[in-house]
Subunit: 349 residues, 2 copies
DNA sequence: TTGAAAGCGATACCAA
DNA sequence: TTGGTATCGCTTTCAA
């Protein structure tokens, strides 16, 4: 690596502080680290020297000996758009950052937006820049978990890990959530219920689809693959999927979308197609995010406690960083259906 | 700092690589750093050892000697909401990240959401975790620039720095942009033109307001402080300001808002008040973001090349990191008015 | 081309 | 309570 000659940082070292305060480096270090084994007078002397010189501990040196960096990375591997358009992430971050803050850990956000960048990010994380990694929205083929595991970097996922990967995680019961949504549609008297599923390589996508199928089967409704369409977790993805579904089965009277954003896309397509919601078609989303209350009609949606997921994940990660036991822990939170205007009992036929 | 006993990282060191390859640490280091002064055979041996052992260089150790970390921080100090709701930031990041990527620098995003967190973040940055800092949306009283300057950490701002701070920056000509907007309204035959200004402690806010005043004066229109209202750069801020303005002067026929989001808020208030846009009132926003084309009617807006700002800022920062000359550089980009449906020539009176 | 060895700045052990 | 010093993992002269 490059590194032009001697371009040392501003350069106040502990050595200089010690010299100025007339003590040894060891003692100065004790003051910096708030050790109780320092006399009051000396503590004052050193503190003044620190202030006079504007001393700031060099993290690299400290990290080298302690093995700790005092920072945690949150990694969001998404094609850039989603991080900012999906309200999921800010809520997750809000939940997590509170926990890290309380532990005086600096949260740094990494958002590789291409395979190449993801590669570099992996290097950054395994090189010891952070004490632990929190990641959300993982795709099935992402090599990151294995790489971090090998490098012994603590990792916690938000969302169930893909098959074959064992790692700590926090998730909501997506399967049960999806079932509740479909059961709600059935209770509304819907008989031709389709689903707009998330990407087939993401656990959330898979689980919500599984829940949908279970509920359909249990309700004794015929299973029909033409009632299932996949899409990205975006408004556009939802719209495109809805259009395909309508083309395949014109008699659809219920829609379960795997996210509110997708449901919003579906609503716009239904409106264009002249279907009234909820009179002709009832729609249920997932997330119960702000989006749910800004569509027209407002969305019935499966609520998931996102801030809480962030908190729990952060807590799990902090534990893992502290004890380094490599134990796998997981937390699953419950969901609930929040009813709004987009779903209603079918008017008597 | 804590640091439980010997909890060393996974622990493949260069020493171990050297041993396995049967060479000295120095030679192994040369291979890792792609030095040309290594024989082909030895290079192969060492590379195999690296692969076998899964060696990853320890960043802390390397940083300690080179003074470089290979990463750059982008700091957004906002009460959390704005980062995700304002399309400005994703665009800025997209522009900047391309440049950093090309230089193999890892971009880390820091978003302190309270004074306390901002304090910690300052510590993180001055402790040598990153080679340089890019920051946007700086408020006048933010102590960060001074702190970084003292610690000799390269810094580039997006947006003109507050008075009294000298630092490199990239900005658009906000003053001229605002003038063009107002001139456009005047050309539309508007005579009672108000402005929804940004926060008075932010340079963008100040500059756009100044441009507004200049244009009003030049057009020979009476200056009236009741035609100026301040607000946050949010939809709510814009709505509240518009409501106050209408209450103070019912005869308003032109609105210049300092951001599209604010203009969107203004549009909703105007609609509620029964004012037709653009027939009764013409509205011009600032940013020419996606928001501008999703309002109804679509917004006439001042375009600013945000991706380009991000690129230029990143370029400036990379330069500063490389030569460490502490020279202050700045780049100012031009704006242009993009006409849409929210502004139109007044129908003959 | 290769190796030996001197740091980089801080922590933590062992004596005093 | 204090100081001396080995050590962390790597880069980089300086000799060989």
């Amino acid at each position: 690596m490059v590194g032009s000659k001697r371009d040392r940082r501003s350069g106040v070292t502990l050595e200089m502080v010690a010299l100025r305060a007339g003590v040894s480096r060891a003692t100065a270090s004790r003051v910096v680290n708030c050790s109780p084994r320092v006399s009051a007078q000396i503590r004052l002397d050193v503190e003044r020297a620190i202030a006079d010189l504007g001393y700031v501990p060099n993290r690299a040196a400290r990290t080298l000996v302690t093995g700790r960096t005092g920072s945690i990375a949150v990694v969001i591997t998404e094609p850039s758009g989603r991080l900012f358009s999906d309200p999921f992430f800010p809520r997750l971050l809000r939940g997590a950052s509170g926990v890290f803050s309380a532990r005086d850990l600096q949260l740094v956000l990494l958002m590789p937006s291409s395979r190449e960048e993801a590669e570099r990010t992996g290097g950054y994380l395994t090189a010891g820049h952070v004490d632990g990694v929190l990641t959300a929205s993982l795709h099935g083929n992402d090599p990151l978990p294995a790489r971090l595991f090998k490098a012994d970097v603590p990792l916690v996922l938000v969302g169930r890990p893909p098959r074959g990967i064992s790692v700590s995680y926090v998730d909501v019961d997506n399967r049960q959530g999806a079932r509740s949504a479909v059961e709600h549609l059935v209770a509304c008297g819907r008989r031709v219920i389709c689903t707009i599923a998330g990407p087939a390589d993401m656990a959330v996508g898979i689980d919500r689809l599984a829940g949908y199928r279970e509920a359909i089967a249990e309700a004794g409704l015929p299973v029909d693959r033409r009632l299932e369409a996949y899409g990205e977790f975006t408004q556009e993805g939802g719209a495109a999927a809805m259009a395909r579904l309508l083309a395949a089965r014109a008699d659809i009277d219920g829609v379960f979308a795997a996210s509110d954003l997708m449901a919003a896309g579906a609503l716009s397509v239904l409106a264009e197609a002249g279907r009234r919601v909820p009179a002709d078609v009832s729609v249920v989303g997932f997330d119960d995010s702000l989006v749910a209350t800004s569509t027209s009609p407002q969305l019935t949606s499966v609520n998931q406690p996102i801030e809480e997921m962030g908190q729990e994940a952060a807590r799990l990660l902090v534990e893992a960083v502290d004890d380094r036991s490599r134990a796998i822990r997981s937390v699953t939170l419950a969901t609930s259906v929040v009813e709004r205007a987009s779903s209603a009992r079918r008017s008597s036929p």
